[in-house]
């Protein structure tokens, strides 16, 4: 920089910008690298959570199983839920948000790059904190929903569980910090950093869904954070917020938890809906049918998601008036969801469908989500929900929504944007194997849960007696779960194989619609040599094609206003040339340093305040350095 003539050595110096080595990853503030970190970390947790699922299925394959004992089973099913929700689907969505939001809105980075790095490190350390409980006396064992007063109990029957649920409360608070920080960052990014011409209604649907999700996070996470703090107070300070015998109320926890927990469901599934809304038009070669309606129904789902929480509590005893109100609101949240499904169907209708893996997974999402949606409507039949709730029927429902929905959608996104990230495509053939194996395995695993639930098999039981009629379908389900595991192995092999042998992608391998496909694959650190000016929804598509009067597609003649046109580099501060003159934030040590402090504070709450003091000092030091380190090096 021209002004960098001050000779005094600053108190904190920033690491040099480099692109190689572990250190460059640790100090990076590049949203793309952070996105990749999120993705790999979430995938690692996916493998762990999947392993836990296999343990559960192995235990339940037969009546009176002996793979796990009750104590182990309780920890494993609790951690399976926590992992898949907080350490897989949320951060995998965050990986897409981080990588894609700036690219899709035409920005150089997110609004607060160091804060972005901080979010990732807090998420990683929060996840490691949660998992360290396995080595330090026992993992959380009260279910992901952590119902009080069980979650306050330190001795259950004759067995002490000193700290299991402390890890739950503190771990989720730390992960909540990561998500909140990231949500604020991304809201600011989307609102303020869109490329010239990209008005709100020219944003891709994925960006819309990202915005809705971030706003849901901003409003929902404080609720559960408060609930978790009260739980922590009950556990370590001896208060009685949830203890009925001392004037507290266990139902308070349920209200707070589900007031977060239901929006959380949409936090988990809306990103996948956004991804699918990008994939279907691209592979149908048609615009998204009813873009404004898809966007508005996404927003409607976000709002209504805050008004249905008590449908998790129909059997709690809220009374017929409250149950009726929440039955009706629950039924009507199905309307905007249904609208989306019909719009996706209409997008495919009359198109020219190419069944590359992203498209297969997107269609898989829609078909499986329909099943989850329909079973969801039956939960609103309150008197019958008194029967269904806490049975495997509900387990079937939310796996169809969160696995058949979110996970299928996210895998679609992985196949779709992989070439943008790595410059090489994943193998289509292996992708198809992955898809079909996973689709069949998924239905063999979770389809029988509907039957088991209607046959009265409760959730969260580590064992069951023979003679209940549950033996056969449990065995079928276990077989299916190993098919899913096999499909994941195919995917891992595909990813590994593509490093060297994947087809070179080029900028725009799918003939796609949105502006991230205009830049190179992988994109340069500064994303775009020239920030694109946006003239329409699906701007890149309209640079490649126009419609004639009858609505037929006509390619724009080569050499015209074509998206593949040679980029004209225009250096903002052309000191170094070759695109490097574009001002980008320098890497920083401070985000990871500050993030290390948080789990230490957490351990201190469990094992002694002096550890908290150390953690607090590290956090403060990190933030201090953050504030005082020079802007760029």
């Amino acid at each position: 920089m021209a002004t960098a003539t001050v000779t005094r050595q600053p108190l904190f110096s920033r690491p040099r910008s480099s692109h190689k080595g572990v250190w460059s990853w640790i100090t990076t503030v590049d949203h793309k690298r952070i996105g990749v970190l999120y993705g790999f970390t979430a995938f690692a947790f996916f493998l762990i959570g999947g392993f836990e699922a296999l343990l559960i299925r192995a235990q339940l394959a037969r009546p009176n199983g002996h793979v796990l004992n009750a104590n182990q089973y309780d920890q494993v099913f609790t951690m399976h839920g926590l992992t898949m929700i907080f350490l897989v689907v949320m951060p995998l969505s965050a990986a897409f948000f981080n990588y894609l939001i700036p690219l899709m809105i035409g920005a150089r980075d997110v609004a607060f790059p160091r804060l972005n790095a901080f979010s990732y490190w807090v998420f990683l350390f929060g996840g490691l904190f949660l998992y360290s409980s396995f080595l330090l006396g026992g993992a959380p064992n009260g279910g992901w929903f952590g119902y009080a007063p069980l979650s306050v109990q330190k001795v259950t029957g004759s067995v002490p569980f000193a700290h299991n649920m402390d890890y739950y409360a503190i771990g989720l608070i730390i992960l909540g910090i990561a998500s909140t920080v990231s949500a604020v960052n991304l809201v600011v990014t989307i609102i303020n950093m869109r490329a010239p011409g990209m008005s709100f209604f020219r944003m891709p649907v994925f960006i819309w869904m990202a915005l809705v999700v971030q706003l849901l996070l901003v409003f929902a996470l404080p609720i559960v954070t408060i609930a978790l703090f009260l739980l922590l107070f009950d556990r370590i300070l001896g208060t009685s917020f949830y203890i009925a015998s001392n004037g507290g109320d266990p139902v308070l926890w349920q209200h707070l938890f589900w007031l977060f927990g239901h929006p959380e469901v949409y936090i988990l599934v809306l990103p996948a809906m956004g991804i699918v809304s990008e994939i279907l038009p691209t592979f149908s070669r048609k615009p998204l049918f009813g873009y404004p309606v898809v966007v508005l129904s996404g927003i409607a789902i976000g709002f209504m998601g805050f008004g249905v929480w008590a449908h998790h509590m129909f059997a709690t005893g809220l009374g017929p008036v409250a149950n009726s109100a929440f039955a009706v609101s629950t039924m009507f949240i199905a309307v905007p969801t249904g609208v989306k499904i019909f719009n996706w169907l209409a997008t495919m209708w009359g198109g020219r469908l190419r069944f590359d893996p992203p498209m297969l997974f997107a269609i898989g999402f829609v078909t499986m989500f329909v099943i989850g949606g329909l079973s969801g409507v039956t939960h609103a039949l309150v008197p019958h929900d008194y029967q269904q709730t806490d049975t495997y029927y509900v387990v079937a429902h939310f796996h169809y929504v969160l696995f058949g929905g979110a996970i299928f959608g996210l895998f679609g996104g992985i196949y779709y944007w992989w070439p943008k990230i790595y410059g090489r495509k994943l193998s289509g053939k292996l992708g198809k194997w992955h898809f079909w194996l996973m689709l069949i395995g998924f239905n063999v695993t979770f389809g029988p849960f509907h039957i088991l639930g209607l046959q009265g098999m409760p959730r969260r039981i580590y064992t069951y007696a023979p003679g209940m009629g549950w033996d056969f379908w449990n065995m079928v389900s276990t077989v299916g779960s190993f098919m899913i595991a096999g499909s994941i192995l195919v995917f891992i092999y595909n990813a590994w194989h593509s490093r060297k042998y994947g087809e070179i992608a080029g900028n725009d391998p799918w003939d796609a619609r949105t502006i991230e496909w205009m830049t190179s694959s992988p994109p340069p650190e500064h994303n775009f040599d020239q920030i694109p000016v946006v003239h329409a929804l699906d701007d890149f598509w309209h640079k490649k094609y126009v419609e004639d009067k009858g609505g037929k597609l006509v390619p724009v003649p080569a050499g015209g206003e074509n998206g593949h046109s040679e980029q004209a580099p225009e250096h903002e501060a052309g000191e170094h040339g070759g695109g490097h003159g574009i001002h980008l934030p320098s890497p920083s040590y401070m985000p990871i340093l500050a993030a290390v402090g948080l789990p230490l504070i957490g351990y201190g709450l469990i094992y002694g305040f002096y550890i908290s003091i150390v953690g607090g000092l590290i956090l403060l030091g990190g933030l201090y350095g953050w504030a005082f380190e020079p802007g760029t090096e």
């Binding site: 009260g142 266990p250 039955a327 008197p383 209607l454 046959q455 009265g456 037929k552």
Partner: protein
């Protein structure tokens, strides 16, 4: 051509789903809540569910059928033209917003009516029972009986008479559920929830706790035995009678061992110094068909094994393992064991408590 292809896809799908459903219904499942329902509230719930299930099935085949049809018909083939670019159609979109909304509005009416219909109301001519959830067993107090009948895990009811329950818990949240008779009701400490249903058929019905309550949640099972009014009245009289005095020397010795051990700190046997409140009331233990949260049939061999191995059979229970050669965790680590022959005597005593 295309239609034939679709037919080839659709027919196996329908056959498969029928086989699926058929097998589901064929299995003997005592907690199934779709058929052989014997209680008023279970039937009401099912009457609401069945029509909605068929509506959902129709929507399922319609939507999935359309998706599969579109995928087959509009797949990219050689010579296929670029598609017409359609950006939306307000009339269509309004239609598929309005129709589901209308269907749901129609479904909402019977739903709300049934919600109020199944809400429990206290009234005359009901059997009134207070249910207490414990980690991990059920206690039943028959209100209005003197002396009060208190029993565990097995609930006895008269047929065709409304039963009204108040439910409470001494520790964590449980949920009381007998699917063939009624939907579940959570049992929340500090709140007294209510439940009401009328059993229509005599017989034995299975149920279990359905709110996760830690280690032995899976083992917190229960039975409901519905008897004719006459049999029920007899049963009440038997339960109100003082416990049988042990007649055989074995049982007498067992009683002495029972009374001189820590058994009495947790269990009650009416009319003796055993007045503990933590465990199930054993006054008429031998009249029950199952024990330990209805995990085991009440046979001498099972009870014998239970007293030996307890928490090995049912994780987490606060009852120590009395068998010699068993190691107990704190707080029972230094407890004296009871010899095999003495345990046999205790079993003989318990099995005499008809």
């Amino acid at each position: 051509m295309e239609r034939r292809k679709l037919g080839r896809l659709v027919r196996p799908a329908i056959i498969l789903s029928l086989v699926f459903l058929g097998t589901a219904c064929a299995a003997h499942a005592p907690q199934d809540y779709l058929k052989n329902l014997a209680g008023s509230e279970a039937r009401k719930a099912n009457n609401l569910f069945v029509p909605v299930f068929w509506i959902a099935a129709f929507v399922f085949f319609l939507v999935e059928g359309l998706i599969v049809f579109a995928a087959v018909k509009f797949r990219d083939r050689a010579g296929r033209d670029e598609p017409k670019q359609i950006h939306g159609n307000s009339a269509l979109e309004l239609t598929w917003t309005a129709i589901p909304a209308l269907i749901l509005a129609v479904v909402a009416v019977p739903t709300v009516l049934t919600i109020f219909s199944v809400a429990a109301k206290p009234g005359p001519n009901q059997v009134k029972i207070h249910v207490v959830g414990h980690q991990w067993w059920w206690e039943y107090q028959y209100l209005g009986t003197t002396p009060e009948v208190i029993t565990a895990n097995e609930l006895v009811l008269p047929v065709n008479k409304p039963a009204y329950f108040t439910l409470d818990s001494v520790d964590v949240i449980h949920s009381f559920w007998v699917p063939k008779l009624a939907g579940k009701q959570d049992v929340v400490p500090g709140r007294t929830n209510t439940l009401e249903f009328t059993p229509f058929e005599t017989g034995e019905y299975y149920g279990q706790c359905t709110e996760y309550c830690s280690l032995s949640h899976a083992n917190m099972r229960l039975r409901v035995i519905v008897k004719t009014q006459a049999d029920y009245d007899t049963w009440i009289r038997e339960q109100q009678a003082p416990p049988v005095q042990p007649a055989t020397p074995d049982a007498q010795q067992g009683q002495q061992i029972f009374m001189s051990n820590i058994c009495i700190t947790c269990h009650t046997i009416a009319g003796t110094q055993a007045q503990g409140q933590l465990g199930p009331n054993l006054t008429h233990f031998a009249s029950r068909g199952t024990f330990a949260g209805s995990m085991f049939d009440n046979t001498p061999a099972n009870v014998d094994r239970w007293i030996h191995e307890t928490s090995l059979l049912k994780p987490g229970v606060i009852m120590p393992r009395f068998g010699c050669g068993q190691t107990n965790e704190p707080p029972y680590a230094s407890m004296k064991c009871i010899s095999d022959s003495d345990i046999q005597a205790v079993v003989a005593y318990l099995e005499s408590l008809k």
